[in-house]
């Protein structure tokens, strides 16, 4: 089961209602054989743009991020369920990313173009192509002049 991040925006509502909504959301995950690793509350704050959901315009939302492990096939099902939920304003699912361990290539990128690897590759590709600035069409007629009217 891969780890997903479920970013949820819930409508503005009093705390007891929010609690029942969160339990409902979590039970939907458990019913599909998933587990919750972590729940993050990013707080209640104004949205950067207004959003319409279930016939209402929302300008503020409760932001939550669920870190969940579910079967891949259950994700579409979960999304469909949350789409029908009137308390969910907006929802997004992303694969949880591992911190990438790659070396910084800035030094190579700051070299002059002739020394950069990608530029050298482009030059090599260009050498295999027909140079359209110096290419001259050959008639292959065996004559040193053009036999027809130009």
């Amino acid at each position: 089961m891969p780890t997903y991040e479920l970013a949820l925006m819930l409508r503005a509502m009093p705390k007891p209602e929010l609690k029942t909504t969160l339990t409902r959301i979590s039970h939907a995950i458990f019913d599909r054989g998933g587990i919750i690793r972590n729940i993050e509350n990013l707080g209640f704050r104004p949205m950067p743009y207004k959003t319409t959901a279930h016939g209402l315009v929302h300008k503020e939302a409760n932001y939550f991020v669920f870190k969940i492990d579910t079967p891949t096939k259950a994700v579409a099902d979960l999304k469909e369920e949350y789409r029908r939920d009137v308390d969910v304003v907006r929802q997004r699912v992303f694969l949880a990313q591992e911190p990438s361990k790659n070396d910084c290539t800035l030094e190579e990128e700051l070299l002059p173009p002739a020394y950069r690897e990608d530029v050298q590759k482009m030059i090599d590709v260009g050498k295999t192509q027909v140079n359209r600035f110096t290419y001259k069409f050959k008639y292959n007629s065996g004559l040193d002049y053009y036999p027809f009217q130009k």
Partner: protein, 136 residues
């Protein structure tokens, strides 16, 4: 007498003997005795390898950290600054752009402006003085 000594060490004694004799002495003594020989060392003028700011501080951009991401956004148009302005390496710039797009999609970050709360955040780079010339 000294002439005989030098001739003896240079021509009569085999080279291997001289090498072993030198090996017994400590490293400091070796430098002082063979002061004419070139010393093997790294290039002292070699410049330090430059790194982008995110690689240097070992930061992986994340869509939930929208405050950091908003620093790579124009305060006037909300557009993401390019690599020639931000001075990031290719991989980190791509990550930043992807995470900004995710954050905007999740309604953490606005599309067309920068959150006014973050307008006074410290500047990581100067958009007026790009690393390479602007495309436009």
């Amino acid at each position: 007498m000294s002439l005989i000594k030098t001739v003896l060490t240079r021509y009569v004694l085999p080279t291997s003997y001289r090498a072993t004799a030198a090996r017994f002495s400590s490293t400091d003594a070796k430098i002082t005795t063979s002061n004419d020989e070139p010393v093997e060392m790294d290039n002292p003028y070699k410049k330090e390898r430059r790194q982008c700011i995110l690689c240097k501080l070992n930061i992986t951009p994340d869509y939930k950290n929208y405050r950091l991401l908003s620093q790579f956004q124009s305060p006037y148009t909300g557009r993401i600054y390019g690599r020639h302005i931000t001075g990031l390496c290719k991989s980190k710039q791509e990550l930043v752009e992807n995470e900004i797009r995710k954050a905007q999609n999740c309604a953490y970050m606005p599309y067309y402006y920068k959150d006014k709360v973050f307008l006074k955040d410290p500047k990581l780079f100067d958009p007026e003085n790009p690393v390479r010339a602007h495309r436009f």
